[in-house]
Amino acid sequence: MASKKGQGENRLRDQIQEKRLFNRRAILAGAGVLGLMGLLGGRMAHLQITGHQHYATMSQANRVRLVPVPPNRGLIHDRNGVILAENRPTYQLMVIPEQVQDLEATLEGLGSIIKLEEADIARFHTQRQRQRRFDAIPIKFRLDERDVAIFAANRHRFPGVEVEARLSRVYPQGEHAVHAIGHVGRINEQELQRIDSSRYRGSTHIGKSGAELQFEDLLHGHSGIERVEANALGRVIRPLERLDPNPGNDVYLTIDSRLQRVAEEVLGDWQGAIVALDTRNGDILALASKPMFDPNLFVHGIDRDTFQALQADPSRPLYNRAMRGQYPPGSTIKPFVALASLENEIKRASERVFCPGFYTLPGVSHRWRCWQRRGHGHMNMEDSLVQSCDVYFYDVAYRLGIDRMQEYLGGFGFGRRTGSGIPGELPGVLPSREWKRAARGEGWYHGETLITGIGQGFFLTTPMQLAHATAVFANKGSAHPPRLIKRIERNDNGEVSDLPPEDKETHFKLRNEANWQEVVDGLIASIRGPRGTARSIAPGLDYEVAGKTGTAQVFSLGQDEEYDADAIPTHLRDHALFNCFAPAEDPRISVAVVVENGGSGGGVAAPMARQVMDAWRALERGEPVPRPDPPDEDEAEVPDG
């Protein structure tokens, strides 16, 4: 009993001890729990008090996205408001991968109703890997209306595919004036580094050539920004605030679309260029280079084959001949040399030179031939301009010497850019001793002076340069640099500003106005006179034109070889040139025409210039433009120097 009771007491005591042991452990555990809870609380306090600023910023950065809003590009008009470049909604087929169940089947299905190029599909796949699944990716640009209609009818078959309209650059006149307007294209890597990224945020296109490039700053505008709340997937939930883009300015070119069209039409299928300038302010009225190309091809990225075809085309349609074509001026240089002669008192106007058909220098056996092998006989200055006698100008050049000649011709702007600012303009070459030493590492020969005097040899000029030099001549030594822009119309506040012409540059001062008149008389006579090289344009001409034909050799004939146009392949035939201004008594327009391999300045180039001037006269009087005659290749029978 006692032992049992003792056992029971022991057991009871054990139980009390066990309970105490457990309680101690439980309290210990409770303390541990409290401590660890404190640790959690401390961690939370650390994040939410100490780190709050930091994490609040990160959360904001998570939530808010900046979506660029590209500006609308300004329009390009001609001087009278005809639209040359505009923005039109174009339709593109967009695929949202997230919403498409079977991408392959969808693409195949689309291909069966709308023509998809392999390149389209390849580009789609490349882009798809870079973008998020809910971003719409273009699969085909520039759907035509038929495609849009066909797709609309089949829309139910293609969930996740939609037609999107967006503004893109369109050149409504196609090829017309392409070398003046230029074109836009996708921004490339180099441009990306050059441009102000905040201005171009969201913009995909940039001016690549012509006015589009030259006036990029005016046309582009300034991107806006929209702050939006976006979720973790980047999907926009709601807009927060918006900074509107600043639209680009509309630009009015100096080009007169009607005159431009005449210039393009008279060139026909010839390769060449026509530049017409307003001599009073430097306005470029027409800037035609043929052949042309359709700038619309470049807007959305031209496909490889088309681009290669354009580049490989032997007629080089992408080449802006008006600004970059460098041709020997040939006889078109003679009025300038004639004025140099009179002003430098090398010869009086009435003084005669005998032309036996060639020219020799003392002690040199070489004969510098006149284009007229029979010889012109006795020539005064007017005769030499009318008949384009080479021998007369060999003599003038010889007596002037290369240094004086180069200095004087430089006064007309030969050998340097005109200041038009048109991208890609080339300066031509006005040969001089220094130039030859630098370019060829050789000294100057007398013979080179002679052929420089008739615009051959090293001498190169661009059609723009020739037209500008002619304007300087017409203005008796001063002119405004050529300009392509006339007016800017701001799209943000509607402000219109007519730009004043570029500052007039005085190139030289005439010593004697009579000298100038002598040369002009000679130029008029080259058209009006019975033996004039440009007499073909005289019939029906009811205003006076001062002009000079030119024929520039593409290759040199041997000493006694005869130039026979029919025996020479087309691409080696002489270039035909003509430069002129009108009206001769009150010059307002200067025109330069270069027709590659045209053969004859008088036969081919001069009639083109006449038609441009006729059109200009009609426009000036508010009359309808006469329909230009297409050029006739066989008409080119009047020979000249």
Partner: protein, 372 residues
């Protein structure tokens, strides 16, 4: 005063009759209410999801009430059988179980799906408590070894599924029993040293790649900012940007704009922190702390070793839930897939959890009055 104590007495009588603990019940109900409010926000106001959660809560509370009616003695009698059944099912799940989320966790009985590992959350502490309470405390060294074996066997099976979160919980549940039973300190310290020594082995041979990633990413979330680190980065941003007062209910941008992954399940605490700030967090942690302390108090008040050990272990296991989840969401410990109890969206674990509280209530309300 007298009236108040009378009400108290009456309340106590009602509670004893229903075998429910008023304080615990109130706290759990409050927690569930908060949980539903957060879930509403975290699920982007998805009423259907809320309804499903409500049904689960109903089931879980029903399970709690049901278990609470079973006296601890009965539970003690069932214990070996429950444990054995659990072991068998764990083996079965590896053989014929169904896959979900990259692991084999489910057993299907017709339309009912069941996770045996959940049962083990209760069965392991029950079994260890059952075993250790058969002898006077503290346990001998050999008893401790047997207890560890009892814990380790099912844990190993759970790791094989693999289910790291549950494995952590059941191990903790078993170890808590051993600790509360009075495990000698030198054994405890020795064991801790052994664990530290075993970590490299564990790392090299037993951990899955995704688990290693979670650990590595914990120490440097930026090493994988778009992958495993993304969870931690986004949840710390959510918590930190909440500040002291929070962004307000339904206004947490991190969660509403879906930057926060798994925001209605494992990472729901980040939603809460973002929207209610530190003020809300402290209140929530205090509520959890109250529940845990109430559980420990119930354990201390228990009248036999089985009840004591079981109740104490269950209360501490509940703490492990909270600590692991909050620690993981706030970037304090690696990402271990454990829900925040009674708040995270999800089914089976909630029923187990409430069943545990049912056991606590049973222990508390089936005490005999020594005096009478």
């Amino acid at each position: 005063m007298a009236d108040a104590s009378l009400v108290d007495q009456r309340m106590t009588r009602v509670q004893r009759h229903l075998h429910l603990d008023g304080q615990l019940l109130t706290a759990l109900a409050l927690l569930s209410g908060v949980g539903l409010a957060i879930l509403y926000s975290a699920s982007n106001q998805d009423m259907a999801e809320l309804q499903r959660q409500l049904i689960r809560l109903g089931l879980a509370f029903a399970a709690m009430v049901a278990i609470a009616q079973v006296p601890p003695e009965t539970l003690q009698r069932w214990t070996p059988w429950v444990f054995l059944a659990g072991l068998v099912m764990l083996v079965l799940v590896l053989l014929v179980g169904t896959y979900g989320k990259g692991a084999q966790r489910w057993l299907g009985f017709g339309p009912v799906r069941f996770q045996p590992a959940e049962l083990m959350k209760l069965a392991i502490p029950m079994m260890v408590a059952w075993y250790l309470s058969r002898r006077p405390l503290p346990p001998s060294f050999s008893q401790v070894l047997v207890a560890l074996f009892m814990t380790a066997t099912p844990t190993a099976l759970i790791i094989l599924q693999p289910d790291l979160g549950t494995a952590v919980l059941v191990t903790a549940a078993g170890l808590f029993v051993v600790f509360l039973a009075g495990l000698r300190w030198r054994v405890l310290i020795g064991a801790l040293l052994a664990i530290v020594a075993a970590i490299p082995v564990f790392w090299m041979f037993l951990m899955h790649e995704y688990q290693k990633q979670r650990v590595l990413t914990l120490f440097d979330p930026e090493r994988d900012p778009l992958g495993a680190g993304y969870h931690i980065i986004q949840s710390t941003i959510a918590i930190g940007s909440g500040g002291v007062y929070g962004k307000g209910w339904l206004n947490g941008t991190q969660s509403q704009l879906q930057f926060l992954p798994e925001r209605n399940t494992d990472f729901i605490f980040a939603v809460f922190s973002e929207e209610f700030g530190l003020v809300g967090v402290v209140q929530l942690l205090v509520l959890y702390l109250f529940i845990i302390c109430r559980g420990l108090y119930i354990a201390c008040q228990a009248q036999d070793n089985f009840s004591r050990l079981l109740a104490g272990s269950l209360a501490l296991t509940f703490f492990v839930y909270v600590f692991v989840n909050v620690g993981m969401v706030s970037g304090l410990i690696p990402v271990v897939g454990l829900p925040l109890p009674l708040i995270s969206y999800g089914g089976t674990s909630m029923v187990t959890l409430m069943a545990a509280f049912g056991i606590l209530m049973s222990v508390h309300t089936h005490r005999r009055m020594w005096s009478s």
